[in-house]
Amino acid sequence: MVGLAGLAFNASGHLFVSSYNANFILEFTPLGVGSVFATDPGDNSLLSQTYGLAFNGTGDLYATNYSNNTISVFTPDGAGSLFASSGLNNPVGLAFDSAGYLYAVNNADSTVVRYDSLGADSLYGTLTERGGSFIAIQSAPEPGTAALLGLGALLLAARRRRA
């Protein structure tokens, strides 16, 4: 059993899937044609019970490694390296916020850790219950967008009033 666990779409709509038990990441086209995107070199240094996946804004893929408490990063061509090994305690879920910070959920101690783009970690929060797993981040509306929408609505109202 390969144990498919993590999912993430890149900007081209390809689906990336991590295998928890077999230490590889698959890539599927929108039509479902699969190929191997990345494998572990064989020493569990890059993929080791890989769980959560998340893409940053420039198309690099980040992956949590549950058993060895690391986060790996892969370039779009599949070249991997270690991103972080600090602050992790059986990490599962992974997600970026709109400012580009990366968040990982630690299953063993139910904490959420935040990383800057250089991999420096800080404790972001502790969950109300034990057994934290996955994470989803709702982006705040862009300030500019909200302001433009407000202005548009007001202009419309003013125009209606004059008509």
């Binding site: 059993m1 390969v2 144990g3 498919l4 666990a5 993590g6 999912l7 993430a8 779409f9 709509g13 689906l15 899937v17 295998s19 928890y20 077999a22 590889f24 698959l26 599927f28 929108p30 039509l31 479902g32 044609v33 699969g34 190929s35 191997v36 769980y51 996946l53 879920g93 916020d97 709109s98 400012a99 959420v112 972001y124 929060g125 502790t126 969950l127 109300t128 219950e129 034990r130 057994g131 934290g132 797993s133 996955f134 994470i135 989803a136 981040i137 709702q138 982006s139 705040a140 509306p141 862009e142 300030p143 500019g144 909200a146 302001a147 407000g150 202005l151 007001l154 202009l155 003013a158």
Partner: protein
């Protein structure tokens, strides 16, 4: 347009900019809770699932949060941004999950689920069709879900 309208528009724009707010972070935690976190305080309970340990979470384009049952038959529930829940999918003998892990939406609004112990990816369209998107049993992935216990596009499970 009168001056007071322009001034009012400018004021509104400033207020909206200030109130744009921060990202909202949701995290699944056992035994059946989904927490909400902000930068400015401790985690708080956002919603409670119907008696199952929450696994993967994903947000659709309008801010509804989907959560899958991590163990068992693979129920999927949906919560509005206000925390009101409803059932999105319930597994049957013909089509079920065996350990729902991560969820993800594509840009067209289709929901994908990592079906851990069945070694496959399920796809739920916005129109209510569930199918096997890919099968990972071979270790390299195969398209189409051939040989799996449910058919590609013929089942409907939505409420």
């Amino acid at each position: 347009m009168k001056l007071e309208h322009l001034l009012a528009a400018g004021f509104l724009a400033i207020v909206l900019s200030i109130n744009a707010g921060a990202d909202t972070i949701h995290v699944s935690a056992g035994p059946n809770s989904i927490d909400q976190l902000t930068a400015s305080g401790p985690a708080s309970l956002f919603a409670t699932t119907s008696n199952f340990a929450p696994g993967g979470l994903a947000l659709d384009a309008i801010g509804n949060l989907y959560v899958v049952e991590q163990h068992g038959f693979g129920k999927i529930e949906k919560f509005t941004s206000g925390g009101v829940g409803s059932t999105f999918f319930t597994g049957t003998a013909e089509m079920n999950l065996n350990g729902g892990e991560m969820l993800a939406f594509d840009s067209a609004g289709n929901l994908f689920v990592a079906d851990y112990s069945n070694n496959r990816i399920l796809k739920f369209t916005t129109g209510g069709e569930v199918s096997v998107f890919a099968d990972g049993t071979s270790g390299v992935g195969r398209a189409g879900g051939t040989g799996i216990q449910c058919q590609r596009t013929s089942l409907r499970f939505f409420l």
